[in-house]
Every structure is written in structure tokens, then in C-alpha cells.
């Protein structure tokens, strides 16, 4: 596997290692379906902005680069807003203000600045794919922990006869509500980050 792709998934995971894009990571992690929707939005915007920034890197004057990147990112976010509002209005409603806030997701600007502006198109695409996969995995993990413990359910998309909600017996009757509150999000994030630290530390000691 290409290292530009794989680095974003574990080694430089945007949420747990780089600590970027935390606001959406916690804000929309109440339900798994919201986390997946947000990840799809981020994937589209990051792919688009990395492609454009990489193609335009020789034309953007260095002094005006940050505003240029922001305009590129904001345009893709506007596309996501329109598409989501038209085809998934329910999801758009529950993500709320966090959809336009993809603009200020530091992962995207960070990758445009640190990677796409000095790498080839192919590597930038791979980087965007890997980073958004890493973001999606981190976000979905937080959402999974919070929803399972906090509500005893896993909410997915309704497909055919399946209504889209998996109820976990016992936990569903008596969930630990704190995890679905805002305090729970911060606690879960802290515990998962500690686990990541412990895991990478023990891996380093082994090798």
C-alpha cells in the first residue's frame, strides 16, 4: 500500500494524533449516522481542495495562499451544503451548523497548506483519501462509543425493511446517559486519546 495513503489512517491520524478537526469530531458524534454523513462531507471537500490546490500550486502567489485555499475550500463546502440539503435534508438538519463549519475544519486547510501545495496531483489525491479515511475512522469510533453507551443504539441509514436503528438489549433499557451529553463527548475523547497514547507507546517499546 502507498505510504501517502496509509499514513493518514494510523500514524498521522488527524483526530487522535494530529488533534485537528476536533470541533466536528465531538459536535456530531452523538449518532453514528451523523458521523458517517460528516465524514462523507469532509472526504468530498478535502479531495476537491487537495486536487485544486495541487493543480494551482504554481499559480497561487505565496503571500495570498491562505485566503486562496480558504476560498477553494469554502466553494466545495457550499457544494456539499447544497447537495446535502437537496438529497439528505434530514441529515442536513441534524448536522446543522456543523456543515458550513467544514470550512474551518483545520484538517482540510492543514493538508492543503502542508501537503497539497508542494506535492504532485497523484500524491495529493492519495493523501486526501487517507486523511479523510483516518478522520472518518476516528469520528465513527467516538460516535460508536458514545451512542452505544449513551443510548444503547446504533443509528445507521434505513435500507429496505431495515429501519436503520440497531438496539442493543439491556443497554437500550438503561443507557448511561452521560455519554450522550456534551460532557460525555469530552470524556470519551480524553479516554480514547489516552488509549492511543498507551498503544503507540507499547508498540514503540516492542520494536
Amino acid at each position: 500500500m502507498n505510504k501517502e495513503f496509509t499514513k493518514g489512517v494510523f500514524k498521522d491520524n488527524p483526530i487522535f494524533v494530529l488533534l485537528l478537526g476536533l470541533c466536528p469530531a465531538l459536535g456530531v458524534s452523538g449518532q453514528v449516522v451523523n458521523a458517517l454523513g460528516m465524514s462523507a462531507g469532509v472526504l468530498f471537500v478535502m479531495l476537491g481542495s487537495n486536487i485544486f490546490v495541487s493543480l494551482l500550486k504554481n499559480f497561487i502567489p505565496p503571500k495570498a495562499r491562505i485566503p486562496s485555499y480558504i476560498v477553494i475550500i469554502a466553494s466545495f463546502v457550499t457544494i456539499v451544503q447544497m447537495v446535502m440539503e437537496a438529497f439528505a435534508p434530514e441529515l442536513y438538519g441534524s448536522l446543522g451548523v456543523f456543515v458550513p463549519l467544514i470550512v474551518v475544519n483545520c484538517v482540510i486547510l492543514g493538508r492543503a497548506e502542508a501537503f497539497a501545495s508542494r506535492n504532485t496531483l497523484k500524491n495529493s489525491v492519495l493523501d486526501a483519501l487517507g486523511m479523510s479515511l483516518g478522520f472518518a475512522l476516528g469520528l465513527t469510533l467516538i460516535a460508536l462509543v458514545r451512542e452505544v453507551l449513551g443510548a444503547g443504539t446504533i443509528t445507521l441509514f434505513p435500507v429496505g425493511g431495515f429501519e436503520g436503528i440497531i438496539r442493543i438489549p439491556l443497554l437500550h433499557q438503561a443507557p448511561a446517559r452521560i455519554f450522550s451529553l456534551s460532557a460525555g463527548a469530552l470524556l470519551v475523547m480524553g479516554l480514547l486519546k489516552a488509549f492511543f497514547n498507551w498503544y503507540s507507546e507499547s508498540r514503540r517499546n516492542l520494536s
Binding site: 488533534l19 485537528l20 476536533l22 470541533c23 466536528p24 465531538l26 459536535g27 491562505i66 485566503p67 480558504i70 476560498v71 469554502a74 466553494s75 463546502v77 457550499t78 451544503q81 447544497m82 451548523v97 458550513p100 463549519l101 470550512v103 474551518v104 475544519n105 483545520c106 486547510l109 452521560i178 451529553l181 456534551s182 460532557a183 460525555g184 463527548a185 469530552l186 470524556l187 475523547m189 480524553g190 479516554l191 486519546k193 489516552a194 488509549f195 497514547n197 498507551w198 507507546e201
Partner: protein, 196 residues
């Protein structure tokens, strides 16, 4: 809603960091010592109060008359980016030590979700211009309160026997979570009791 109500709502009841997760990056990144936390807090408050007024004016007097509401996100982020540039130049001129302390985080106010967040929430909540200004200041003060409390907690935790995997960021998140729990005592019922 009166002005005191807006202040109490944004500072305590729906604190941007602790209940809405807006502005988490600086909350974790710049809260290692109190001095820079205070500087960051005031810089954010200043940018937020001006940005919420300017974006509201642009929305109502430029975007709405020309039917360009779909450009909202792009227009707002550009306004905020230029305002931040302005604040950066002013702080660099007035207080070089503060400028040095805030370092990389000043340009990062542009990508502080809290600033764009208050601008976008203002549009949906439809206040008058004075209410919007109050809302901007209140949201900024809420940010200031949370980040200063956080930096105090982290300074006290320095040198204490924290288990190694929890050192630094994880401990900060868990303290933030406990703070959010404490802030749950401030709710709508409190506001009605206070203001009748």
C-alpha cells in the same frame, strides 16, 4: 430576550466550548499557561464581537438584496480572515510580547469554529444588531472563561503524578469533560428563576 439574558445564555448555559464544541482547537492548544490563555481569550472575544456585526451587515445589506444567500459561507469566512489579519497587525504594534506569546495561534483564529459559528448562528436566530453585538461579546467571554479555567487546571496539574498515557492532552479533555458536567448546573430553569 434582553441583553443580560443573552450574556448569561452564551457565557454559562450554552457555553460555546463546553456545550457546543466550537473552538476546541485553541481550547486544547493554547491552554498550557494562563497568560497566553487570557490573551487568546480576549483576541477571540474582540474578533467575535466585530465579526458577528460585520457578517450580519453583509448578510442583510449585500447578500439578501442581491439574492446571493448561497454565498454566505464564502463571504463570512473571507470577512473573518481579513478581520483576524487586522487584529494581528494591531496586537503586533501595541504589544510585541503578547504577539510573541500567541505566536502561531493568532492566524488560527480564522479557523476557530467559534467565530464562524457565532456568525452563522446569528443569521438563523435573527436578532437585532445590538443583540448580535451582545451575543458576539458574550460568546467570546464564554470562550475566555472556559479557556482561563482550563489553563488554571492544567497549570495545577503540572508536575502532579498523572499516569503517563493521560499526560497532556487526554488529561485536558477529561478535565474539560468534568467542567462541562459542572456547567450543566446552569440551565434554562436557572435563567427563568433569575430573570423571571
Amino acid at each position: 430576550m434582553n441583553y443580560i439574558g443573552i450574556l448569561i445564555t452564551y457565557i454559562f448555559i450554552s457555553n460555546f466550548i463546553l456545550t457546543q464544541f466550537l473552538g476546541l482547537c485553541p481550547f486544547i492548544g493554547v491552554s498550557k499557561n494562563t497568560e497566553s490563555a487570557v490573551g487568546m481569550g480576549f483576541a477571540v472575544t474582540f474578533v467575535m464581537s466585530i465579526a458577528s456585526v460585520v457578517t450580519w451587515l453583509i448578510y442583510n445589506f449585500v447578500l439578501v438584496p442581491f439574492d446571493l444567500m448561497y454565498l454566505q459561507t464564502i463571504a463570512f469566512i473571507l470577512v473573518i480572515a481579513s478581520l483576524v489579519q487586522l487584529v494581528e497587525m494591531i496586537i503586533q504594534k501595541i504589544s510585541p510580547p503578547l504577539y510573541k506569546a500567541l505566536g502561531i495561534f493568532l492566524p488560527l483564529i480564522t479557523t476557530n469554529c467559534a467565530v464562524l459559528g457565532i456568525a452563522l448562528l446569528n443569521i438563523t436566530n435573527q436578532h437585532t444588531i445590538l443583540e448580535i453585538f451582545t451575543g458576539g461579546i458574550a460568546a467570546g467571554l464564554g470562550f475566555l472563561l472556559a479557556i482561563v479555567l482550563m489553563s488554571n487546571i492544567r497549570e495545577r496539574m503540572d508536575g502532579k503524578p498523572v499516569p503517563k498515557p493521560f499526560k497532556g492532552v487526554p488529561a485536558a479533555f477529561i478535565s474539560g469533560g468534568l467542567m462541562a458536567l459542572a456547567f450543566m448546573a446552569f440551565d434554562r430553569a436557572l435563567l427563568t428563576n433569575l430573570l423571571g
